[in-house]
């Protein structure tokens, strides 16, 4: 518990900054929604001239984008990218901290199992992600209520917003794997690289339109348009999220327990 408390205290400030930044980005992007909708016809005629591939790559669906949920779903493509960077950085950072600060000897010569160290760190990171999502979800609800003069499904909004949590969970576990198996010195370089690769894959999926590629990138695990329609998640989305997170977490434990601690 002492490691959990120590780690959580260390990442709390950073988590609050990320959470508020995510909410601020959401606010700045959603604030243009009323003007966007008022000029829907002009914008539609302009966008219709774009190639389909470009619209898909940008996450634009002309059937839904002029409603608040459609617009929010469109923004989520970019908000989850930011959230993905935060989560990956958290995973990389929290598990590579002692390596980067060269103080592994301090922690690893204390009477505590390596598995307990990993669990404490992952739990602290998980709590940080949950806090981020609570703040982000509350902000999203408030912002959408403020910018929309039409009724919309609160359930769908919450569900779309919640996809952030699941995507972050995946990136957190992937980041942790990177930290355990690669000696990383720059947390944000690693986190950005991981996200850029998967974001690029999501663009490929959008352009190719093949469902088989859906599970290649966390950014495509959930389909916001489908969530708006069904007000439900695809079971396959959950399966892939938890499968990836479980495999990554298992790899993190095995790697952490079996590996030699590098010299400072």
């Amino acid at each position: 518990m002492n490691i959990f408390r120590f780690e959580f205290r260390s990442i709390l400030k950073n988590t609050l900054i990320w959470s508020l930044s995510l909410s601020a980005v959401c606010l700045f992007m959603m604030i243009i929604f009323p003007a966007y909708r008022e000029n829907a016809d002009a914008i539609r005629s302009m966008i219709e001239g774009f190639p389909d591939e470009a619209l898909k790559a940008m996450g634009m669906d002309l059937n839904t984008i002029f409603g608040v949920l459609g617009f929010y779903s469109f923004l989520m493509v970019y908000l989850t990218l930011i959230g993905g960077v935060q989560a990956a950085a958290l995973g990389v950072g929290i598990l590579s901290r002692e390596y980067r600060e060269k103080n592994s000897d301090f922690l690893m010569t204390k009477p505590v199992k390596r598995s307990v160290v990993v669990t404490s760190k992952l739990c602290a990171a998980l709590l940080a992600i949950v806090i981020t999502n609570i703040i982000f979800m509350l902000s999203s609800v408030g912002i959408c209520l403020a910018v929309s003069d039409q009724k919309f499904s609160m359930t769908a909004l919450v569900m779309i917003s919640l996809t952030m949590l699941f995507i972050q969970l995946v990136f957190l576990s992937m980041g942790a794997v990177l930290a355990v198996f690669i000696r990383i010195k720059s947390v944000y370089t690693a986190a950005l690289a991981l996200n850029v690769v998967f974001f690029a894959l999501s663009l490929v999926k959008s352009l190719a339109g093949k469902d088989a590629l859906q599970f290649l990138t966390p950014f495509k695990y959930f389909d916001p348009a489908q969530i708006v329609l069904d007000e439900a998640y695809e079971p396959s989305s959950f399966i892939i999220v938890f499968a990836v997170a479980a495999v990554c977490t298992a790899a993190v434990y095995i790697g952490s327990i079996r590996s030699d601690i590098p010299t400072a």
Binding site: E101, F106, K110, V112, K113
Partner: protein, 298 residues
Amino acid sequence: MATPVITLNKLTKYYGKTRGILDLSFSVEEGEIFGFIGPNGAGKSTTIRTLLSLIYPTSGSAAIFGLDIIKDRVKILQDVGYLPSEVFYYDSMRVRELLRYSASFYKKTKNMEECERRMHELCELLELDINRKIEDLSYGNRKKVGIVQGMLHSPKLLILDEPTGGLDPLMQARFFELIRREREKGVTVLFSSHILSEVQNLCDRVAIIRDGQLVQVDSISALRENTYKRVYAEAEGEIPAGYFDGDGITAAEIQGNSATFLFSGNINDLLSKLASLSLTNLIIEEPDLEELFMHYYR
């Protein structure tokens, strides 16, 4: 007979194909200060890191308090204090916070008030300001933090890896005094160093390691008999070739009016030999370990 505090049995560690330590076997008895000495890269830190389960042995085994270093790691570490040779901590923390965090790992088996009292006592002895941030500390002061965090839970075994680096002579003296007091209380100390004199002054027995292999384990008194001195002499005239060939003298090099060699034996014999030269300069010092190993532990 009591179980040794530390027992190594053919302990071997390879880093891939690179040699770490090879077939190390020795034991450290309860209540002794055991020196572990060797030149840089000999395998001292590898041995210590293996004993602490920071790294896993390739083969062989070791036990601390009679417990297996891998299986019983957590139990062993409850009573071990470790000071690494390189001291790095969480830079953004204050010394007090770090030490309390360190103490929090011993909550299950130690009295926290006692840890707190000991922390203050040690900080006072070493003149360490607990309100300062780690990142603002000099190397010497970081070393003091390392000493305090390694000792605040009153461990039964202290593993010290090059502990005096960065400490000024006054602090070194205090530190040695502290270690002696711990020994009197029954604490066992594994003291790794490449400085021969500090091992000679402090330890009861010593293990000498070179190229990952144990050269010998001996008492300090036996080591003293074999102690070498590096001698540098300058004379007014040319020193005859072969002048310093003789008992106890090795690695002699004469160049014109100066000579340098290693000497082991009766110092009076050496002084008599030197007295017959008209000297302009004479330096008698401890050879560094590398040199000693090169000529003695071949």
